[in-house]
Amino acid sequence: MIPTHYFLILSAILFTIGVCGVLTRRNGITIFMSIELMVNAVNLTFLAYARQFHQLHGMIFVFFVMAIAAAEAAVGLAIFLSLFHHRETIDVDEANLMHW
């Protein structure tokens, strides 16, 4: 059995990579993928603790996180589609309008 903290450290590394991607890139889709990376890192933590404490609640939470990530991806990508139609770019620095 692999100890829990191995998974926690892997999750921390993946989360950090996601944070780095969000902070340093300006392509909207890449930023979105970095967010997905962070969500998955947190899922890994949930499952590590679910096994540590023999609780199913962590797994249920991962299930909900996946559903909400799917909703978020659909709406977010629709926003980028809309932005691209209006601005011909998905550079997040160009996205300075709330209403058009």
Partner: protein
């Protein structure tokens, strides 16, 4: 022993492909790297005795969500778009800030090394998760279905492909 080998191999795969996501300039390569990273994470879920969620990870994440990403990238024809670097100060602050954040996280997690795994089998197959989901968590489950419906409507509205009649009925607000 075999477990540890599997863990380290797939942890390395997950981290390397995650790095490819944020370092590669081409978003198509990024999306495919993310799929590879998700597959490696699914292996982690199997190691964590959650086979149901591992399959869900592959079907929902690697299968559905990432295909959505690839669709949008290819729809917008972004694979040839040049992405300019962010400002140097932002690069510097981003890398050092996230490195400091990661070191802090690992330092904080290090004290959990003393955690002992409990004995006994952990029954977390699809049946156990399903029973828990439909007994204790039935209300959030239904709420998520409503949320997904709202997301579908929102995505349709935002992507601006509605027929002009709907748009006219909506008045100026949608434009």
């Amino acid at each position: 022993m075999l477990e540890f080998i599997v863990f380290f191999v797939f942890a390395a795969i997950a981290v390397i492909f995650a790095l490819a996501v944020i370092l590669h300039r081409n978003p198509v390569v990024g999306a495919l790297s993310l799929v590879a990273s998700f597959f490696a994470l699914a292996v982690m879920y199997v190691l964590l005795e959650a086979p149901f969620l591992a399959v869900l990870q592959i079907i929902v994440y690697a299968g559905a969500i990432m295909v959505l990403f690839l669709f949008v990238i290819m729809l917008l024809n972004l694979q040839h778009a040049r992405e300019e670097n962010t400002r140097p100060i932002q690069q510097f602050l981003g890398y050092t800030g996230s490195a400091a954040f990661g070191l802090g996280l690992v330092y904080y997690i290090a004290k959990y090394a003393a955690l002992q795994l409990p004995n006994g089998p952990f029954n977390a197959d699809a049946r156990a998760v399903g029973v828990e989901l439909f007994q204790a968590y039935i209300f959030p489950f239904e709420m998520v279905s409503i949320l997904l419906l709202a997301a579908i409507v929102g995505a349709l509205l935002l992507s601006g492909r509605l027929p002009s009649k709907v748009r006219a009925a909506d008045g100026e607000g949608a434009r």
